[in-house]
Amino acid sequence: MTQPEKSAPDDQDLARLEARCERFRQAFNRIRAEIERTVVGYPDIVEGALVALCGGGHVLLEGVPGLGKTLLVKSMAAALGLSHSRIQCTPDLMPADITGTIALVEEPRGRRDFAFQRGPLFAHLVHVDEINRATQKTQAALLEAMQERAVTVGGQTYPLAEPFFVLATQNPIEMEGTFPLPEAELDRFFFKLRLEFPPLDTLVDILRLTTGAVAASSEKAATPDDLSELTRLPREVLVAEDVYRRAARIVRATHPEAHEAPETARRSVRLGASPRAAQALILGGKVKALLAGRFNVAYADLEAVALPALRHRILLTLEAEADGTDADSITRAALDGVRAAP
């Protein structure tokens, strides 16, 4: 008689956990569907951005102008029911312009005092447009806020909103007058997503959607509980020791001096991925596992997020860049090598 009485709470916990997993999947799919109502033709980009959001990271979006980067941020904010802001980076943008500053303000009773005026970073979703046009000083302030999730002004630390998600964009073509992000700051981004020019059918859909009388817009598709669950549940997913090792080996395979590195990496890589890359692999893999209906991470989950997690963390040699080698080919070679290894 004792066993059933004891197992009853366990079964309840189990059922509750299964319900959480199911709710996660439903919320994720609902939000994704709502975003894709306005952002057409980029399902991978939408899913990647949501995976990064669930993993607690930020996204660097690379693409030519006019592909809907700003629309993506707006749609995400609308679907998630979160506040959002936009920072248009220019060379004269100062750190105080994004973090906020202490200004002399006048209270309603006429008394004047110094008060902290919050900058655009104090929002849930922050769209940093053309981040490589800001000076390095501003970039450093932004990336520090991204990492610490807080800003310090005048000796006072102000925590940022939760969830806090930065979607920065940069133009890969027009590099004149820009300040390319240093490697250490690139590493702060969870994923780097690439927007390719849409194919013909997608372009037609975009035209049909955006040139009509009524512009499509996303509606709120998630509750605050959903958002909390989206960012909290992935951390509870179990990871086997072999999967941890697989992630570590994938990252090590991008280092030219490591014995796991394929010949392509030995020849073309100047600096391999950092441990943050392995963290991104595992966290992104956890989200992918939940979406696949598992509560454990598989090798396939790691491989599914390997390209966006590693491509901005692999620095190539000048010769490799001249030859047209990109980080994705290095990542694919590393994945193949690790997969084939016993």
Partner: protein
């Protein structure tokens, strides 16, 4: 907890199969390695080196291969290995790998993973794990083992005494064109096969011919192989048609006789035999002018008086037959001034000659060829035949001396 039992049961079955597979692979690998050693030993033995390696040694090596291969199977298989095999074979997304780590642990997350694995384990067939596949390594091992088996079944050289082994190291010469028969040096004492060696079956017995017997009387010329160089040279002068003084041909091995124009055609000589293999004596006949550019023409058109009798007895050939005959069978008796009682070898030869078809080459080699039904004899087999007869002569001589 039923899910945990199901997962454990499945992992246990898979681990058992993996251990079996590991044992098979281990046996195959070790068998291949030891088969390589056995292959070298058998090859060496077939080439005349070393003693007969069969028997207990080979059985011991095979047992060693079995034991070495089974050692890995005795090691326990960790559950993670079996779980990884299940995941890889059935594409289960590392469900079993994770479940094997957390099985038995409390908590809803662990139980959820184990339950998920058990649910997916229902469609897992342990009989299909692992995917047995014979790769290149397996085929290589199997071919090595097959080579050993083939060498095992092949007949070994009829006689593989140490004396003959030493003879193998000498410069090859040519009976035929490709064979490299051993040649015994002057004064070489051919030893009997070592005690305990496998009894060799005589070729004549195998061919259904009457066996050779020890000589029954004196007066026979000793075998040239046991003579010194000077003595053998004297023998050659005394009996130009006797013996096989050509390089590369073991002494005591009779050559097919050339057809004599006096005695009538006896059939063709060894077809395709080069001039160096004809065993022609370097001493030309008196009054003979041999064209140096056509040494082989002596085979086709032997000049001089080939007075050897068709029977090959060679009686009186010392006085009348000065032509360069090729090792007449009766050369041994040609040097005898007085008729001696025929030895058992001669008796057996007469018996064989009686059954020889007309036109066939004479001599013991011809006997062998006739007995083989004129089948093309491989050079290696011919090599063994020559060695057999060489050993036969040495045994005869030893018996005579004793």
């Amino acid at each position: 907890m039923d899910e945990a039992k199901a997962v454990r049961s499945l992992l246990t079955r898979v681990a058992r199969r993996l251990r079996l597979w590991r044992a098979l692979r281990g046996v195959l690998r070790s068998a291949a390695a030891i088969a390589g050693v056995m292959l070298a030993i058998l090859l060496a033995h077939h080439l005349g080196f070393g003693r007969d390696p069969r028997g207990a040694l080979l059985l011991g090596l095979a047992a060693l291969a079995l034991v070495l291969g089974l050692i890995p199977a005795l090691r326990p298989m960790p559950p993670g290995r079996a779980a990884a095999a299940v995941d890889a074979a059935c594409a289960l997304g590392e469900r079993f790998t994770t479940a094997a780590e957390v099985i038995g642990q409390p908590g809803p997350r662990e139980r959820l993973v184990v339950r998920d694995a058990a649910r997916h384990g229902l469609r897992v067939d342990p009989q299909r794990i692992p995917h047995a596949r014979v790769g290149r390594e397996g085929w290589l091992a199997a071919s090595v083992v097959a080579a050993v088996v083939v060498l095992w079944l092949l007949p070994v050289a009829p006689l593989a005494g140490p004396g003959l082994d030493r003879g193998l190291g000498q410069k090859p010469g040519g009976v035929g064109t490709e064979a490299a028969p051993p040649r015994l040096g002057a004064g070489t004492v051919v030893e009997a096969p070592p005690a305990g060696a496998r009894p060799q079956r005589g070729l004549l017995e195998a061919l259904g011919l009457p066996p050779q017997h020890p000589p029954s009387g004196d007066g026979r010329r000793p075998h040239t192989a046991s003579l010194g160089g000077e003595q053998r040279g004297a023998e050659r002068e005394r009996s130009p048609g006797g013996g096989s003084a050509e390089p590369g041909v073991p002494h005591g091995i009779e050559r097919p006789r050339l057809p004599s124009p006096v005695a009538g055609p006896r059939g063709p000589a060894i077809p395709g035999a080069p001039a160096s293999a004809t065993g022609s004596s370097q001493i030309p006949a008196p009054g003979e002018s041999r064209p140096p550019s056509k040494p082989a023409s002596r085979i086709a058109a032997p000049e001089g008086a080939g007075t050897e009798k068709p029977g090959g007895a060679g009686a009186g050939s010392e006085t009348a037959g000065t032509g360069p005959t090729l090792g007449g069978a009766g050369a041994g008796r040609g040097g005898a001034d007085e008729p001696s009682p025929p030895s058992a070898r001669d008796v057996a030869k007469d018996v064989r000659e009686a059954g020889r078809p007309p036109g066939s080459p004479g001599g013991d080699l011809a006997d062998g060829q006739a007995a083989f039904g004129r089948l093309p004899v491989p050079s290696a087999l011919r090599h063994y035949i020559l060695r057999y007869f060489e050993q036969l002569h040495s045994r005869e001589r030893r018996d005579k001396a004793s």
